[in-house]
Subunit: 238 residues, 2 copies
């Protein structure tokens, strides 16, 4: 690995002696503490998001992240304890992008609808974070915490019984996470192929959906489930 890195370093003819903190391609910085810190958690988060959007989650390695920030991989560990920490930073950034603005403004059902669709859309591009967020103590992610507070307040103000609010949010979230994966499923995921005649009911149902649908299958399923949840939960309000 190190040999590879050394080989990738371009031998620059007469490099400017002032070291730059820019991304890959900048000149060598000599060892020792720099006068001003190069890294911070915000910069790491931004670089991680950029890397994810260009190379996907497979491209998000500590080495690649360090390279895009113009530092050695080990430098990252002065600012995060682990790669999991980087994923947490990214997750919390994304949580702030989920639309909770309708709570307290629009009717409860419309607010839930907006929140759930936006939540699904944000994380469908970041499914590798779902195992992280799904078991993440909210105290570790301030923006995620703020999202839950906004949603909880919206439920309470809409007359939702207090002891059922968390359960309803957890259920909606479970549905959102699963649906985020489904967005990335291939369109023909239910095609049985050569085994079609062994599963006639499934094949018939798949064909009927394909014939009559007027939107993306994943969106139809999401809408169907979300409206059932909204209707069912809405009936709980006092």
């Amino acid at each position: 690995m190190l040999g590879t890195q050394a080989a990738e370093r371009l031998p620059m003819p007469a490099p400017t002696p002032a070291p730059s903190a820019g991304p890959a391609g900048s000149v060598r910085r000599r060892a020792g503490r720099p006068t001003a810190a190069i890294l911070d958690q915000d910069g790491i988060t931004t670089a991680a998001l950029e890397l994810i959007s260009t190379k996907g989650y497979n491209g998000l390695t500590m080495a690649a992240l360090a390279r895009s920030l113009g530092v050695a991989p080990s430098a990252l560990y002065n600012h995060v304890a682990s790669k999991h920490d980087v994923l947490l930073l990214v997750e919390d950034h994304l949580a702030a992008m989920v639309d909770v603005s309708a709570f307290g403004v629009e009717p409860w059902d419309a607010a839930v609808r907006r929140w759930a669709w936006s939540y699904r859309d944000v994380f469908s591009e970041h499914t590798p974070l779902i195992p992280v967020i799904a078991v993440l103590p909210v105290a570790n992610a301030p923006k995620t915490l703020a999202m839950y507070e906004a949603v909880t307040a919206g439920f309470r103000d809409a007359g939702f019984p207090e002891e059922k609010i968390i359960s309803a949010i957890v259920a909606l979230e479970a549905f959102v996470f699963g649906a985020a994966y489904d967005v990335n499923a291939p369109e023909d995921i239910f095609d049985a192929g050569s085994l079609a005649e062994q599963v006639p009911n499934l094949t018939a149902a798949v064909d009927r959906l394909a014939k009559e649908r007027h939107a993306l299958p994943t969106d139809i399923a999401f809408s169907l489930g979300l409206e059932a949840l909204i209707a069912g939960f809405g009936a709980l309000r006092g």
Copy 2:
């Protein structure tokens, strides 16, 4: 790695000359094709499941799998194309354990309830498979395909409109997958800790749930969501 393996091999005094195909600890087998194949996909699947149950998914490496089968890691690639293939084999084995027996026997809502709870319970112990199954073309997994056929037939026989069956199953599945993660969440996942006073609505709702609950929070949320989905979808039947 190879050095490590060699160091781990115990120098047995006068080993029995007949090579055994047993698990780790057996004598060295010399290179070349064995008279009878040692591996097959069923054996690999069983060994993978055993490894997962004892060491978890972090312990499921191609090296560990090979060791438990008494072969070199490279031998696995004569029977599977990749580690992802191993995960597929495990996933399909688990799909056969999901309870679809109530479809066509009990009323539709009871059958869906049984199926969904059992589906959640099976995969809550195997959450690393969820990203695999969620985007898996069913043609690649015969037992998974059989599960979908049974569920689809149950929906059709219950008078479900054919063009909505797949969407309803996809929605229920999304909920099940998200809920499977939630089973593994820490109980205090929503405790804001030192930030509690900044999120008063969330904290109040968490406290109320903790005070009044008579079951596991994850089961209450699952039941709440599942019953809403069953009620909403049940109304679609003709």
